[in-house]
Subunit: 306 residues, 2 copies
């Protein structure tokens, strides 16, 4: 099995993980940030600059941004949904932006209030705002594979967004399996098509573990040469015990198998588990990560038979 020497994990628990939670007090959120920085992870998506009405859990984006100055050597980024959000993020001191465009029209309308083509048109202006502030713009293509309303997303729709992003000056791309339905072969097929269409741009992938296939997709992506993966501490994101649970792949599970397979991440697994404990206290409910629930990698227990 040909694995790369290193995979670059982005921690998205503070944004994708927290956004559907009841709002967590700023102090607890900053403890979570502190614990995440301590893990050694080099990229953290810290918040999103979107309407506080739509996402009350991230209404404190400015205050979170104000706390980042104390940390060195970590690439902090924020998600934005439009030009106004981009300007807010930059004004708050976060020049590295992620702008989400849904490849499926129905999801784009539901999530951003406009069809894919209109959402994609804004890429150029957002890239300018980011670049003017010394930052970078990553375009995250949501519903890249599947849409909860439209079903399978035609690959040409995703590739159209890629072409627009390239032309508009995006610095990086990421494909999102928004509803956790993709599987290994389709993971690889679309990632390879996007890489062929945008050979110069770094390409990442964002998986949810909704159907238990998230880590298998991550493996498929890594085997296909994609070395930038999103993950969320504790598998936070969506309620694990409700129908439709939709947590991100768990950072500790990803780091565990990468580490154990000889792939460097720069992340300390025990410190991710410690950060998961901090996160669990912050959100006040059990986290879905199997590894976390099992008590960690290095502490297998005795309750088993063959």
């Amino acid at each position: 099995m040909q694995l790369p020497p290193r995979v670059d994990v982005r921690e998205v628990g503070m944004r994708d993980g927290l956004q559907l939670e009841d709002p967590v007090p700023l102090e607890a959120k900053l403890e979570m940030l502190e614990a995440l920085v301590a893990t050694g992870v080099q990229r953290i998506e810290v918040t999103s600059f979107v309407s506080p009405k739509a996402v009350p859990a991230l209404a404190d984006a400015d205050q979170v941004a104000a706390a980042l100055g104390r940390y060195e050597g970590v690439h902090f980024s924020a998600l934005v949904a439009n030009l106004r959000g981009a300007q807010r993020a930059v004004d708050a001191g976060i020049p590295h932006l992620e702008y989400v465009v849904s490849a499926a029209d129905s999801h784009s309308r539901a999530n951003a209030g406009r069809p894919t083509s209109e959402a994609a048109e804004a890429i150029g202006a957002i890239a300018e705002v980011s670049h003017a502030a010394g930052g970078s713009l990553e375009v995250i293509i949501a519903t890249a594979w599947d849409c909860p309303f439209d079903g399978r997303t035609d690959p040409s729709r995703t590739l159209d967004v890629v072409a627009t992003a390239v032309a508009a000056g995006a610095d990086q791309l990421c494909l999102g399996d928004t509803i956790g339905t993709v599987t290994p072969r389709r993971t690889v097929d679309l990632l390879e098509a996007v890489r062929a269409a945008a050979p110069g741009l770094p390409l990442g992938a964002h998986f949810h573990d909704t159907r238990g296939t998230g880590q298998a997709n991550a493996l498929a992506a890594v085997l296909a040469g994609v070395t930038q993966l999103d993950a969320s501490v504790g598998g936070l994101g969506g309620c694990p015990f409700a129908p439709g649970a939709s947590g991100n792949i768990a950072t500790e599970e990803l780091v565990y198998w990468l580490d154990d397979s000889g792939v460097e991440t720069g992340i300390d697994l025990d410190l991710v588990l410690a950060a998961a404990a901090v996160t669990e206290r912050a959100v006040e409910h059990p986290l879905p990560s199997s590894l976390y629930r099992a008590g960690g990698a290095s502490r297998p227990r005795g309750e088993f038979r063959p």
Copy 2:
């Protein structure tokens, strides 16, 4: 990505899944069997013939065996832990046996009351019992990768068991990740070493999803050419909400990604989900499978953001 045209899934929910549960009434167990046969799965591990004191949940092995005659075209097998169990299974009408040998001494002593070498010595006699009844013997090597007491299992210990099994007339081999600690690279390395040591024997793998890596390991195994995989309906096996949860990989999650990746299994996913519902009623607690909890593959829900 090079995937094989077909993967042969063995359903182990009735044995590995139920063995740690509170005993399920025979009638409910037979409903579960009926639902599993209906899925189209062609191999089912139905019970084990072990001490009812050690495994009270499977004390009705004879009665389960008596119910198998009504089903045609399914390869039923039973797990045994020694020669006496093998004779019991054959007498009950199940000639296809799985005999477990732990590659790690400490686990072998804890699980079978004797070290690996003594457990392996019994393979020949058990093979004879099975063959005399017109059956076959699969040797399942438990703790093939890792042991909860001894840590990493030296590959030479697993290969020693393989050599003994080959010499003693075993018909098939299976490597068990007993405590759910293995990861993709080590999965492939050991499977390839075993295949090289026993090129003539069919080789399967048995993964637990304790640390969220089960389906990734399954993908790694399939990519390495292993096309026989164990899985458990609903991910049954161990309590999902307790520390140390140790369920098998979920049949529906495995079938979901294989199907969606173009790999045939002969198993109907909707009928596996139906069997999971029957199983959940039988064990009277929620099943750990994420796909089952999410409400099935074809019914993505709306509670998500990018």
